[in-house]
Symmetry: C2
């Protein structure tokens, strides 16, 4: 199944306790496309870049099955740029600079070939743009996944709620779930948020794993304990790409398969954070991914056939 992906394609300058990377390729949609490309080879990218974005990066994406027909290029403008510095414990970060550039007035127009996608991944972006994309689809997709962040809760809550009401899966982090719902208990927060529309809620907890809520079911996917987390940038976007990638590949929306999708999302994210930007995500071998799946599987597996 093909996946329509909307989100930023951009440059990031990142500083972590382990080093600095200047103007490397980033953006939510970039991470999503790379992660999803390990599952499907038909990804339709909707975004906007400036004339400064390197053509060879786009060619690499095309080589992974990513269509750039819906990628607008504004030759005389600059791509979105974000610069940030992570705290020593890597759990927090400060934004040093945000230059919207081409994203400032991004008004996506979907090519006809994009309008029948069954799987839609709305990467972190202005809620109005996300809604605009949903409204351009020819038919209701089988699955719409929405990723967002606290920034939009602060500045555009009504628009955000309007998008949330139209999607099947929402992915946010634990603090965002608490902010959006006003509930501290994640169980109560999940109930409140699902009442806003999404049948499924994924709460991402970074190094503490991810929770999937659906009806009365809860699934927990651990994060892989890593020797070193080098750069957390894009972990959430990568999660989203692996998550929808697995669902589109299998075209199976059962809860059992959603659980696996959360595992695949976590697995892809565990790769991304081990190097700067998309560096590691670009060169994963099947053997490496399989070995990591084995690690994930062993991490939580126990024999419960023991009674009190």
């Amino acid at each position: 199944m093909s996946i329509l992906t909307v989100g930023s394609v951009a440059f990031d300058s990142i500083e972590t306790p382990f080093g600095k990377a200047d103007r490397i390729v980033g953006g939510a949609a970039t991470y999503i496309c790379w992660a999803a490309s390990y599952f499907v080879d038909d990804i339709k990218l909707c975004s906007v870049i400036g004339g400064d974005f390197p053509e060879d990066e786009l060619n690499e994406l095309r080589g992974r099955g990513v269509s750039t027909e819906g990628l607008e290029v504004k030759q005389d403008e600059k791509s979105f740029f974000w610069s940030g510095k992570y705290h020593d414990d890597m759990n927090g970060r400060d934004t040093l600079l945000t230059e919207l550039n081409v994203l400032a007035d991004f008004d996506p127009v979907l090519p006809d070939s994009y309008k029948n996608c069954d799987y839609v991944m709305l990467g972190n972006l202005t809620p109005e743009v996300q809604l605009n994309v949903i409204n351009q689809m020819d038919k209701r997709p089988k699955l719409i996944v929405l990723d967002t962040m606290n920034f939009w809760m602060d500045v555009a809550l009504d628009s955000l709620k309007a998008v949330i009401a139209k999607v099947d899966v929402l992915t946010i982090n634990d603090e965002e779930a608490r902010q959006l719902s006003g509930e501290h208990s994640l169980v109560k927060a999940a109930r409140a948020i699902r009442a806003m529309g999404p049948k499924y809620l994924v709460i991402k907890k970074g190094e503490h794993g991810a929770l999937l809520f659906h009806g009365e079911n809860i699934f927990f996917a651990p994060a892989l304990p890593l020797e070193s987390v080098f750069d957390p940038t894009g972990a959430g976007d990568t999660f989203a790409g692996g998550f929808i990638g697995h669902l589109a590949k299998t075209d199976d929306l059962s809860f059992e398969n959603m659980k696996r999708a959360v595992i695949f999302g976590s697995l892809m994210a565990s790769c991304t954070v081990e190097k700067f930007g998309i560096e590691k995500l670009k060169g994963l071998s099947t053997e490496e991914l399989q070995a990591r799946m084995e690690q994930f599987s062993n991490l939580t597996r126990f024999d419960a056939a023991v009674a009190f």
Copy 2:
């Protein structure tokens, strides 16, 4: 198998966002004994109390198979007292008052009947007292588990390291593991701490679950997502009681069984936090515990038979 348990038996005054409890029964050994009593009926308690401690509470413990032969009663003194207030998010707490009372000069003398226990649980206490107890054993126990906290790392690091060198399992939380090792990555921290002596390390992460490290193996036990966490006091002690309780019951120190012990510890802790103090821990039915085990099992179980 019998379990020797050392730790405080005390009073706590607790304030949480949900209410206040004044001078209720607490103490590390109290939680450990209650939790372990769901697994074995031969627990030897070593502690000290004042004349103010209620006899009916001791009788309840005796009714659960807890020997109080090694429980010193100083009739003219007062029991240990701790008072604390939890922050609104329940993730932090302030100590309002600590009255050591009988604990100030606690010098445990093990009864002969205690000296052959194969399973020893050293609850959070002065490292010197923990070491003193180990040294009184007639033979090396099959398993010594040590629980401690950052306070002892701050004020008695050398003594603490001397105890750590003599135990098989250390249980601490994630911040304590980072403090003790000087490593931020828990994988690296675990390696450094196991080099200090313990073959097994359990890192407790509260609402984020617990990690078990042994050799190159890592096991992750989730915390059960709860509707409401009412009072986190004693969660770590309860974990320790369930953990060693299961091991003593099964007398099986394989890694597979250690994994189950971490699950049982997490399960018992998930009960404790739902009410004040030991209230919930006192009245658990087998049906309730079995149902909770089913929840734990479902929480992380997924079919990994899917390849890249």
